[in-house]
Symmetry: C2
Subunit: 208 residues, 2 copies
DNA sequence: TAGATTGTTAATCGATTAACAATC
DNA sequence: TAGATTGTTAATCGATTAACAATC
């Protein structure tokens, strides 16, 4: 497969899972990793992993495995996610603060560039390394800082307003932590996190 | 398809997505919903949705759509997720508090039955409607309250310890909010939430 | 009736897996 | 050399989709 062709949804999803495992493996000081080890952490079949990777080059060494660092770079190249990306966070409450002080985004080159809230009490308050801004400034700030990714960390009742404001500010990818269904234009991607639904799914396989 | 057969991973995953959409649609007062509407919110093809549902019965009305309530019940029956389920939360910090005060679990019949923390300062403190318990009591409390689902809301450094304690307490399904890779026995399911990785994946499709 | 939407078929495409030679 | 693990083939299975008759 050529890197200039568009990946299928399945391949891109799996490659990003490998990215996660490799990032952690590197932190744990592992220089090398085998397809079998990646399989254990991702629940993706080891043959599938080797097949996915070998479509882009011969990254591994037979009898040895893959070099963690080198493979990480190759996958970043394939997914075109090298470099820094800016993100806007809406909601400076408990969840917003938790996200702002988590290292999980920074580790993958995603920088939380601004935090917004509607509550006048919250504006100006320190959240992680930032200060909360007013929702009135969202369009200006997002354009200035080249932000196309927004995270919604507000209650379901205000989630649609938050989404509208982000989209109005030019955001194209919305990560929704509320349970609300969001109505958005066709050129905007919405990802909704719903741990409850994932748990119900997990329970099914536990019960059967 | 017969309900007594085990669902494939793909079917179960899609059915739980329908569950999420139907739950919200009902809250929004929608009595009926079409496969096309579910498709818009889930990005799952409408034919696929009708096909998934029709494998278990004729739940819809031609020209009309599906009754939200009735379909919700049918899917709950298929996924065997009716009734209440108890959950243990490890971590009484910002993220733990955010989870404890979110309605997202309750909405799907999942009750947060206990919260644990290692920090003596936190123990006894009110978090949502509960008080934080000591990790020393985790095994006893989980067994008493029939808990087989645990949520890890602690920093990556302590995630493995939290997982070990939960597993020792009889938990079989672990939802991991930290970025750490967890080593667990084969009979334990681990779901790791990593919004950064999901965003990298979304960005790929935005860029291409 | 006219319009809408389901249920189902048929055809295609991608995912999955076991097996194993190649080779480190 | 012996053991381990990749890269690749070949075969199967499930997912996806368009199309449309059935029917509300």
């Amino acid at each position: 497969m050529n890197t200039s062709e568009r990946l299928t949804v399945g391949v891109a999803a799996r490659l990003s899972r490998y990215l996660q495992v490799l990032t952690q493996a590197r932190k744990m000081g592992k220089d090398r990793i085998s397809s079998q080890e990646i399989a254990e952490y991702t629940n993706i079949n080891a043959t599938q992993i080797r097949r996915d990777l070998s479509a882009f080059g011969r990254f591994g060494k037979r009898g040895v495995g893959y070099r963690t660092d080198a493979l990480l770079d190759e996958i970043r190249k394939i997914l075109r996610t090298q470099g820094q990306h800016n993100l806007a966070l809406v909601g400076a409450g408990r969840l917003g603060s938790a996200i702002a002080s988590s290292p999980i985004f920074a580790e993958h080159g995603i920088h939380i560039a601004a935090i917004f809230d509607t509550d006048p009490e919250k504006i100006g308050e320190r959240i992680g390394e930032l200060r909360a801004s007013s929702m009135d400034d969202i369009a200006q700030i997002c354009r200035e800082r080249n932000i196309i990714v927004g995270v919604i960390a507000v209650p379901a009742e205000s989630a649609q307003d938050a989404a509208d404001a982000l989209i109005d500010a030019g955001v194209k990818i919305v990560f929704n932590y509320s349970e609300a269904l969001l109505d958005t234009p066709a050129d905007v991607q919405v990802h909704t996190s719903n741990p409850a639904v994932e748990l119900l799914y997990a329970m099914y396989f536990h019960l059967t």
